[in-house]
């Protein structure tokens, strides 16, 4: 922290960017205790959830059992049951797996679309950029949540796939915009110009020269997006516009709390899911923030 206030006249001798970004990122995470704990927690939860869910039968868990309605936690059911007599623990595991999976899927899809779109827009600039960014601006202004809900409600043959496509369709603009503004700066730098004089094609410059310099930004943004997407999916499922009924998600469990009775008296149904979402999002966010610090030299701690 001391170093950033220093006014030296040899600042140009200090390397501003390091190529081996990964080692810095790793060092930053290890140094940052909270981020390290978050990372470990994340790895544990993920492997636990995916591991256990291999042994669980989703169909069995979502089958209604009228003899076991609203059972509190006990021997038969580790975390009790819901209004349909379904095992909360099983739903929790499957739900977390589903939420995580769709979060990752949507993050990857929006990431690919956004990065490519932003790269093209920023690299070519001019009129192309102008038009492409107007489109992004428009999408960004839309009342995104409502439009997604409307689409979820009216799409015929609604499935997990269509849900993730709808989310992707309205979520790629943020990263596109970010990548575009960075690409716009990078392509003006002499190294990209030099590549042109050395005979490299635009495509080659874009992918092999400019893109590597955006990698840390992409990693950071995607990590933070992952957290946001998990939150968003569970939010939509909470409102009843996320996963279809047969596919439990963390949001589905929370939506039971919209019933005041459940909210007030049957905490075991919704509190574990709430805690799990919080832990997941906090962990992913902490890792993301640590990555951000690692890649932003001004905020770096060491």
């Amino acid at each position: 922290m001391e170093s950033k206030e220093i006014k030296l006249d040899d600042t140009q001798h200090v390397a501003t960017k390091s190529p081996s970004g990964f080692s810095i990122i790793w060092r930053e995470i290890v140094r940052d205790k909270i981020a390290l704990v978050s990372l470990i927690l994340l790895v544990l939860i993920t492997s636990f959830v995916y591991g256990i869910s291999l042994f669980l039968n989703q169909d069995e868990i979502v089958t209604v059992d009228l003899f076991a309605i609203h059972e509190p936690p006990g021997e038969d059911f580790l975390l009790g049951t819901d209004y349909g007599g379904r095992d909360i623990f099983g739903q929790l595991i499957i739900g977390t797996r589903n939420s995580l999976s769709i979060g990752i899927l949507v993050t990857l899809m929006t990431g690919v679309i956004g990065v490519l779109y932003g790269l093209v827009s920023g690299y070519f600039g001019g009129t192309i950029d102008n038009i492409m960014m107007r489109i992004v601006d428009f999408f960004l202004i839309l009342p995104f949540l409502m439009i997604v809900i409307v689409f979820v409600a009216i799409v015929p043959k609604y499935s997990v796939l269509s849900f993730s496509l709808i989310m992707t369709a309205f979520l790629w603009m943020g990263i596109a915009r970010l990548i575009r503004s960075k690409a716009l700066q990078e392509k003006e730098l002499d190294y990209a110009q030099a590549s042109k004089t050395l005979g490299s094609s635009n495509l080659k410059i874009m992918l092999t020269q400019v893109l590597p310099n955006l990698s840390s930004l992409i990693i950071v943004t995607m990590t933070l997006n992952l957290a946001a997407n998990i939150g968003l999916e569970s939010g939509l499922s909470f409102l009843g516009f996320g996963f279809p009924e047969s596919t439990p998600s963390l949001g589905t469990l929370l939506s039971y709390a919209r019933n005041p009775q459940t909210l007030e008296y049957r905490w075991w149904i919704w509190v574990p899911a709430a805690v799990l979402i919080l832990v997941l999002m906090l962990s992913v966010n902490n890792v993301g923030q640590a990555l951000k610090r690692a890649t932003d030299a001004r905020q770096r701690r060491g």
Partner: protein, 320 residues
């Protein structure tokens, strides 16, 4: 500056048109007739087709679009087939409720954000900063709907400090002091819940803006002039960092819209967001269309306001 504003308005118009086209297309995909709300979407498709024919709703798309826009411009957003009343009437009271909820939320957002952001940025790396940063991390990671649920559970049900639904206690005479007080009481908990979460963005932004400005060369110039630390802060750092925050104002509106959908639903607060969810569930599509259109226009105007404020406060844009 006028040139900038006029040019900005020229971008706004196509945005509104594009929005209306998008909503029109969405309405076409909905069963029944989402523009007029004259047909029950729950009857079988053949019967819907029959009714559409009878009501003259199968005109070419451009005629339908023009009719709809003309109507909307005159304040006619069709009929709600559930409530059997014009959508405009249905929306009116709800719009007012959501408006007050938003105003309260924005106020609380800034009341929290400005002192926290300033403290955190000015004394960065102090314990106070670490506490505030910790809060922003948690706030950033917490989904609004979970937080709102917990707030309702704790302050509404467990402690009973706030009402757990509605926008006003029944039986009070509109305009009376008690009525206003009850309104305030009803919107306070949702507003606080929303503000506590949305404010973290502003806090973080203000903090990093202040830290950035602190390291600018002109701060050294100010010190070299003999300005005391407090003057350097008040005159140069704060002023320069708060201006972009002012410009954020309009964009907050877009964020609020998403928030009201959750918060109104959880607190049973009869506003636009609640109406939206109810209407979707009731398949009352003309209302859905109207709500999305209104919120879309609000977002576009919000962005417009932000850009105009920015052009007013930043001479680099103002003079172009």
């Amino acid at each position: 500056m006028w040139k900038f504003i006029v040019r900005r308005l020229f971008i706004t118009l196509p945005q509104v048109i594009l929005l209306s086209v998008l909503i029109f297309l969405m309405a076409q995909m909905m069963p029944g007739d989402a523009l007029s709300g004259l047909i029950d979407p729950n009857i079988d498709p053949a019967a819907i087709e029959q009714q559409r024919e009878n009501l003259g709703l199968n005109n070419p798309w451009y005629v339908q679009y023009t009719d709809w826009i003309t109507g909307a411009l005159q304040g006619d957003l069709g009929q709600s087939f559930r409530y059997k009343m014009p959508v405009t009437e249905l929306v009116e009271q709800r719009l007012i409720n959501t408006f007050w909820l938003s105003v309260a939320t924005l106020l609380i957002t800034y009341i929290i954000a400005i002192p926290l952001g300033i403290t955190s940025g000015r004394y960065n790396d102090s314990w106070a900063d670490q506490m505030i940063t910790g809060y922003t991390y948690i706030g950033f990671a917490t989904p609004l709907f979970i937080f709102a649920l917990v707030m309702l559970w704790v302050f509404g049900y467990q402690l009973g400090w706030f009402p757990t639904g509605g926008s006003v206690a029944p039986g009070l005479e509109p305009g009376s002091f008690d009525y206003v007080l009850s309104k305030l009481q009803h919107l306070l908990l949702p507003a606080i819940s929303m503000a506590l979460i949305t404010t973290v963005n502003t806090v973080q932004y203000l903090r990093s803006e202040i830290i950035d400005t602190k390291q600018k060369d002109f701060i050294i110039t100010a010190r070299a002039k003999g300005a005391s630390e407090s003057r350097v802060y008040n005159r140069h750092i704060l002023r320069n960092s708060l201006l972009p925050i002012a410009a954020f104002f309009g964009f907050e509106i877009t964020g609020l819209i998403g928030g009201t959908v959750f918060v109104e639903n959880i607190f049973g607060y009869p506003g636009m967001g609640d109406l939206f969810i109810q209407s979707i569930l009731l398949r009352d599509y003309s209302v859905v269309t109207a709500v999305v259109l209104l919120f879309g226009i609000a977002s576009i105007l919000g962005a417009l306001i932000s850009d105009i404020i920015l052009s007013l406060v930043d001479p680099r844009i103002r003079i172009k």
